[in-house]
């Protein structure tokens, strides 16, 4: 990194943090702190919602995914606009009518205090651990690429976020997210333009896209119905709608964003803004990955994208093996160049037979290259068995560091850090709000002054920030911690969604039935998980989300039919 890159990155991040603190310097009451004075316009809400969902991993992994697997991941988001419309029609008016600070407050008016507290605690466990991961995941990649100790990148992300989130609360989160989204989108646009400008002379843009298409990278839509295929139109529309309903409708880190709107109209428009622009934004990010793929068709890519892994081999007995594999990798690349030129010529002449022949040759060369890349991974594992050899997440950042002009490297790194900070700030803000509103003020310390709750909100934000930092700093000590976090999420997320769906759509079911159903459902989920961990049954843990949700809904309805209880008077009006 040059001095100019440091200035661009440091200046961009410092400006965002300073602006957030300065803009919210007058926040002096708990309503401002937790609800942002409810004065945000729709476009700020929309950008804030998008910034919360788009973490640093979105901008590190997604281009790499397109490089590896093409653009089919875009279908994952196809259900999102549908979910936004459903939430705008049915859920948002309920939250507004009840004037809630958190999604879980609604559960008390619909059911009772224990259901609210139970659900809030489930959210805190799940999101508290996830906040650490939101810092850790990009920090480990950036530390590897920048050759900084992990502690530095964790603290850089974590401390900057804590400063402005503690200072200005919800308003600081939304204000900074607006700046962060502007930086992120500008950075990705500029990266796309630079990539196109770096294509070889004489290669037209349409030729380049044609080559990517013939290599199967432009597979945006797939209408085949295949349950084993993770990304199809159907899985996106059906599974995606379900997933995004739960994420945007019941996760406080998102609910808090649109509840800070000036009015119901502004909040609705904010959600719909997300519904309109999210899919095209993901398309852009994936297309940048395809452009990186095209770039590396004409510029030799490294044999392995995580340079830190390759450095482990240097100076060992396996260094000569690595040099030999790199030479083979270069030879295949050189041979591939000729075939790609043939393919470009065939595309221009629309010669299907020649295109097909080139595709076959490239597939053979790619198979040879994949074998070499696997051998390199084996070498890395031989030197350090604890290494993670999956290098897809390092594809885009490798391009940024090595091929972008001076100044833009700093801007793109600011994009990654901004994305990490925007997600983390929403999470810390939501964790503090839920802790204060659903537990502390409601059950532990009632009827205190506004100033008391404002101070408590700031301290709880610091507390969750410290929890996230500790988790991020120690995550690398536990090999399976990331997977553990995902599993913990899957253990609880289904029950949370089930409770909310009963609240919204099964108006006749009351508090005792839903609470008992949630306890039984959660117990069954834990038993299933135990049986899975013992190898007695085989089930991917992601299915626990769906099973948990279905169990709570079905059990609650059965218990209602058995005469367990009646809903609270007026609940159906909620």
């Amino acid at each position: 990194m040059t001095t100019i890159d440091w200035i661009v990155m440091g200046g961009t991040l410092s400006f965002i943090v300073a602006f957030g603190v300065w803009k919210t310097r007058n926040v002096d009451n708990v309503r401002s702190y937790l609800m942002g004075d409810k004065d945000l316009p729709w476009w700020t809400i929309g950008l804030s919602i998008m910034a919360t969902q788009a973490s640093a991993i979105t901008f590190l992994s997604t281009p790499g995914q397109a490089y590896q697997d093409g653009m089919r991941f875009a279908q994952f988001y196809f259900g999102l606009p549908v979910a936004m419309v459903i939430l705008a029609v049915f859920v948002l008016p309920i939250y507004y009518k009840l004037n809630v600070y958190t999604a879980y407050e609604y559960l008390e008016s619909r059911f009772d205090l224990r259901t609210r507290t139970f659900t809030a605690i489930l959210f805190l466990i799940q999101r508290g651990l996830a906040a650490g991961l939101t810092i850790y995941a990009p920090a480990i990649i950036l530390s590897s690429i920048l050759e900084w100790p992990l502690t530095y990148t964790v603290f850089l992300i974590g401390l900057l976020v804590i400063i402005y989130t503690v200072a200005g609360g919800t308003k600081a989160v939304s204000v900074t997210q607006k700046q962060q989204m502007i930086v992120i989108l500008s950075g990705m646009f500029i990266a796309a333009i630079i990539l196109v400008n770096q294509f070889p002379e004489g290669l037209r843009f349409s030729d380049a896209v044609g080559v990517a298409g013939k290599m199967g990278k432009l597979n945006v839509v797939d209408f085949t119905f295949d349950l084993d295929n993770r990304y199809t139109f159907w899985s996106g529309m059906l599974g995606g709608t379900f997933l995004f309903l739960s994420y945007f409708g019941t996760d406080q880190s998102q609910v808090q964003r649109y509840l800070s709107g000036k009015s119901l109209t502004e909040s609705r428009l904010g959600l719909l803004f997300n519904g309109i622009f999210k899919v095209p934004m993901q398309f852009l990010v994936l297309f940048v990955g395809v452009l990186v793929f095209i770039f590396f068709q004409f510029q030799r890519p490294p044999v392995h994208f995580n340079s830190a892994n390759l450095q482990k081999i240097e100076g060992t007995a396996y260094e000569d093996d690595l040099v030999q594999l790199e030479q083979q990798h270069t030879a295949i690349f050189d041979e591939r160049q000729g075939v790609i030129q043939d393919m470009v010529g065939a595309i221009r002449q629309d010669d299907e037979a020649a295109i097909s022949a080139a595709q076959t040759q490239i597939a053979e060369l790619d198979a040879q290259d994949d074998a070499i890349r696997s051998e390199v991974k084996d070498l890395i594992l031989t030197v350090d068995p604890a290494s993670k050899t999956e290098d897809t997440d390092y594809v885009f950042i490798t391009f940024v560091i090595n091929y972008l002009p001076v100044g833009l490297v700093g801007l793109l790194l600011a994009v990654i850090f901004s994305a990490a900070m925007s997600s983390t700030s929403s999470e810390l803000n939501a964790l503090a709000t839920t802790t204060v509103i659903d537990l502390y003020r409601r059950s532990l310390s009632k009827d205190k002054s506004d100033g008391h709750y404002l101070r408590a909100s700031r301290w709880f934000t610091i507390m969750w920030g410290v929890v996230a930092l500790i988790f991020a700093l120690t995550a690398n000590l536990f090999e399976n911690l990331i997977q553990a976090v995902n599993i913990i999420g899957s253990l609880f997320y289904g029950a949370i969604l089930g409770i909310f769906l009963v609240a919204f759509f099964l108006k006749q079911v009351g508090s005792r039935a839903v609470f008992l159903a949630a306890l039984i459902g959660e117990s069954i989920i834990l038993i299933i998980f135990y049986l899975t961990s013992q190898g007695i049954i085989e089930l991917a843990y992601l299915w626990l989300n769906l099973i948990g949700c279905a169990l709570v809904m079905v059990l609650a309805y059965i218990l209602y039919l058995l005469g367990m209880d009646k809903p609270k008077p007026g609940a159906s009006e909620a």
Partner: protein
């Protein structure tokens, strides 16, 4: 700590459109058009 002030739920007309149903229809139709364009893009370059 006080509850937030009561919200005015008088549903204003949305900007540009005559009703919210038209806004929702616009979002969903636009989404359908985007998917169609993606499909044509996929077909054109496959």
């Amino acid at each position: 700590m006080n509850k937030p002030e009561s919200q005015d739920l008088d549903d204003e007309r949305p900007p540009i459109f005559k009703s919210w149903n038209q806004v929702y229809a616009f979002v969903l139709v636009l989404h359908a058009i985007i998917i169609t364009l993606f499909y044509l893009f996929t077909q054109a370059y496959s």
